[in-house]
């Protein structure tokens, strides 16, 4: 069988999705259930792939048949964790995020653009108090069991396993280059969520609430440190050892939508936030390019507040800090 152009394209696509140090042939052999030799023959185009084999590769590497055929079906395909089990599983949720972050981090060139509506989840893991509260909040919102319905917030309920997973997410995130477009509303939902459960008397210990606010304040301070430096670092690292670059924009004209676009060795992938907490992704070239243009346009309308523009940066963070200070003050009264 003669080598087919489409077949070559398939293997090129797979190659572009794999980090450099991984061997494509082992993966292909594994997925198709054939020997390494047979996999090589397919990759070199000496043996034709059957439709079933293409299907298996599409499923595994998450690319689209239609795109391969260059067929304009007029639709976009998204992947993600759509159907949750009856019980929302937080560990599973953040383990998925960890997988994605590790995947991104395995590329040489890796840049993440984030149009934030809320503070990106990665930042929560700087401080255990915030991460613990967010865990409580999501569980409360999505878990239907009566047992959880009456449960009150306590730090002690947040397991080490969850926190360690979170820390690994943060570590991976810190190694990426990031551009984040923030609104002044970026911490609103967190504050709102704390107040909501305070009103419902679901926060067992006022002292712990105070500690959550206190941690939020330290987190905002650390964001400012990173914006000032233009790179990411760990909040608990006294030297603030430089990690991935950090560009921060202040956007006053639209509310973000928690949309993420990552450029990985030249290939783009877009994550779209839906049903409050879930993300789905697409690699559709057309969609990714349009989203990229949209983000660039948004950046042009926004103020760069990392590294430069000290005055605007100070103003932005002052506003966030004032909000938190007001809440802390109200707790003391």
């Amino acid at each position: 069988m003669e080598s087919s152009e489409l077949q070559q394209q398939i293997f090129q696509q797979i190659k572009s999705k794999l980090p450099q140090h991984l061997s494509m042939v082992d993966d292909v052999a594994n997925i198709l259930g054939v020997s390494t030799d047979s996999a090589y023959r397919r990759i070199r185009g000496e043996k034709a792939l059957s439709l079933e084999e293409v299907y298996k590769l599409c499923v595994h590497f998450q690319f689209s048949f239609d795109q391969l055929f260059n067929f304009q079906s007029g639709t976009y395909m998204f992947q993600g964790e759509f159907v949750q089990d009856f019980d929302f599983n937080f560990l599973k949720h953040i383990s998925n995020i960890e997988q994605q972050m590790k995947y991104m981090n395995s590329f040489t060139q890796k840049h993440m653009y984030y149009v934030c509506k809320d503070m990106p989840i990665f930042h929560h893991f700087h401080f255990r108090e915030i991460a613990a509260f967010k865990y409580f909040f999501w569980m409360k919102l999505f878990i239907q069991s009566p047992e959880f319905a009456h449960k009150k917030f306590r730090f002690a309920d947040y397991s080490d396993e969850l926190f360690q997973t979170g820390r690994r997410i943060l570590k991976n995130y810190n190694q990426l280059e990031s551009t984040e477009i923030w609104n002044i509303e970026g911490i609103n939902s967190t504050i709102r969520q704390i107040e909501f459960y305070r009103d419902l008397d679901m926060l067992a210990d006022e002292e712990e609430v105070y500690q959550v606010y206190d941690a939020l304040e330290r987190l905002v301070n650390h964001l400012e440190v990173q914006a000032d430096a233009g790179y990411k670092s760990f909040a608990d690292d006294p030297d603030h050892k430089p990690m991935g670059s950090f560009q921060m924009y202040f956007n006053e004209v639209t509310l973000g939508d928690n949309c993420i676009l990552s450029v990985l060795d030249g290939n783009k992938v877009v994550f779209i936030n839906h049903s409050v907490i879930n993300f789905m992704l697409t690699r559709d070239t057309h969609f990714c390019d349009r989203t990229y243009e949209h983000i660039q346009n948004l950046m042009r309308k926004s103020t760069l507040i990392s590294s430069v523009s000290e005055r605007e940066r100070t103003r932005f963070f002052k506003h966030l800090k004032q909000r938190i200070a007001a809440r802390k003050q109200s707790l003391k009264e």
């Binding site: 069988m1 439709l51 048949f65 239609d66 067929f71 939508d257 949209h294």
Partner: protein, 331 residues
Amino acid sequence: MVTNNIQDHLFQQIREKLPPSASLADVISDLLHVSTDSAYRRIRGETPLVLEEAAVLCKQFSLSLDTLLSLKGSAVTFIPTQLNNDHYTFEQYLKDILTSFQYIDSHQQKNIIYLTKDVPLFYHFMLRPLFAFRYFFWMKSILQHPDFIGLKFSMDYLPSHIERTGQEILKLYNNIPTTEIWNTECVNSVIGQIAYYREAGYFHSEEDVETIYDALRKTLEHLKTQAEYGCKFLPGENPLSKKNNYSLFYNRVVLGDNTIMVETDGKRTLYLIYDILNYMATQDTKFCQEVYTKMQMLIKRGTIISNVSEKQRSVFFNILLRKIPSRVLNT
């Protein structure tokens, strides 16, 4: 999905697309340049199709293999809408929204759940000054239309046919039973945009700014009245003559994300608005169910401020109204 019958599946789909009089084998042999015998062998699955042949067939019959195979259990396909200045203009965009609403309205049972982070799009069409500003902003800053480069704002830039289409949309929207889930951030972006244009010098006069703020104020006050009566109506219409078709929830727990769930005779269509104006739609049952469940959870935790809860309603709208700068003229 059983994976060993992709070929079968493909031919099945082609067969359905052919007129009854056509012979599948003849068509295939023609398209793939093979003998009728070879075509039969492919149809019967004795000879596997090679990739190129599958591609030819998909193109010829406009079949999306992704959709046919519902590739991977966790994939959802969306039909996108993407505005651009050449092929898909704002005018066409509005017309398509109107057509969608006509379609929704034609059903017996119809229902919309609108989770929003901005004031719902359609309400911006109610008063001309607000619509004119939004239109100008979208054309200049979002679509970056070449005709708007260097222009300052004028009410006259809103073409009357666009205004008309907008109002027809609003009228139909008002007719469809709706649950809206808002939070107090929903006016932030429009206020931010007005402030931004003002600082950037895109207004001829402070009067224009004042007129737009005033229209925003009136729109919100009207929406408050809608909530009070629990029905949607246009300014000037009598709310008592309208059906009770409107629920408004004040959501305090998360920032919304401009998601619209439409139910027509038991069938769900979900619209995700993903960058200011563009949206994409899906009817994927599982996905719609998932989003529906999440929306219900937000509703459960929201405060209902339509019909009942007069005090909560006032508190909510006062928060919004107070965000509008009063009297910019003398500042």
